[in-house]
């Protein structure tokens, strides 16, 4: 009953899409209006935390290699930490805006996890390309939550933050277990089955 890896990527893409749409909504209306209703205030930090929790089954069941397990584990903890910090800020238990750095930290850890656990070159196959692309997107994109710490009410930074999650969702939806990328498919990758 274990899903193929590509299906797990697509399910996480859906989570990131929900996260991206909520963040886009918050960027447009502003944090004050977004947080008028309690359920909405907790929505995206809760989803981020849940995505972190769901990374643990991925860590447990997809043990292709030790580096995969470590990367997924580190990723799970970083996402949970960032989600928990945002939940604490919304609840008022945490007051310092610098707790938002947790999200920048999660971006860096997630990006590094992507880059470290992809052992093949960019054009080995599509999933390799996407792992490199997502890794660098998150590492460079860590500047966005960092900027959001400094200017939490900025519509531009809020929009960029949402766009990063939407980009990651699109990349995850493009992922396939074994498929060419721009016509490249290493013979070492195996035979494309779909």
């Amino acid at each position: 009953m274990q899903p193929p890896a590509e299906h797990v990527h697509w399910l996480f893409a859906t989570g990131f899409l929900i996260l991206g749409l909520c963040l886009l909504g918050e960027a447009i209306v502003g944090p004050d209006v977004w947080r008028t209703r309690a359920w909405r205030a907790y929505l995206w930090p809760g989803i981020a935390f849940t995505l972190g929790v769901l990374m643990f089954p991925v860590m447990t069941f997809f043990t292709n290699s030790t580096i995969h397990m470590l990367a997924h584990g580190a990723w799970a903890q970083a996402l949970m930490f960032a989600g928990a910090a945002e939940l604490g800020l919304v609840r008022g238990k945490l007051t310092s805006p610098w707790w938002r750095l947790a999200m920048a930290f999660a971006f860096l850890v997630s990006g590094t996890a992507f880059l470290v656990h992809e052992q093949n070159a960019w054009f080995f196959q599509r999933s390799s390309f996407l792992h490199h692309l997502m890794g660098w997107t998150l590492v460079i994109g860590a500047a966005v939550p960092l900027a959001r710490c400094v200017r939490p009410r900025s519509t531009a930074f809020g929009g960029a933050f949402a766009a990063t999650f939407l980009l990651i969702a699109v990349m995850l939806y493009c992922d396939r277990d074994l498929a060419p990328i721009f016509g490249h498919l290493s013979p070492l990758a195996g035979v494309q089955h779909r």
Partner: protein, 92 residues
Amino acid sequence: MNAELVSELKVSHRRTWRVRAISVIGPLTAVAAVAWALVQPYRITLLHPHGQSFWWLFVEPPLLVLVVGVLFHVLVVPGLVEDLEQADAAAG
């Protein structure tokens, strides 16, 4: 023109822009999902379900995107528009 009227016009324009922007997110997502399904119909395995395993029938990416767009529009947008209008009325 009266300065107070100009201020009201600005608030009204801003509200309209925000309400419009928030209202098109769900439909745009749904349109993207439909376009994706038309371009890559093989991504919807429900169209050719014979011999497919559970996960290939359960996880249909274009349909997932469609559902997210529809749910966002139905569950999140109405309350958000209402709160946005109330906040603008209180500020104006």
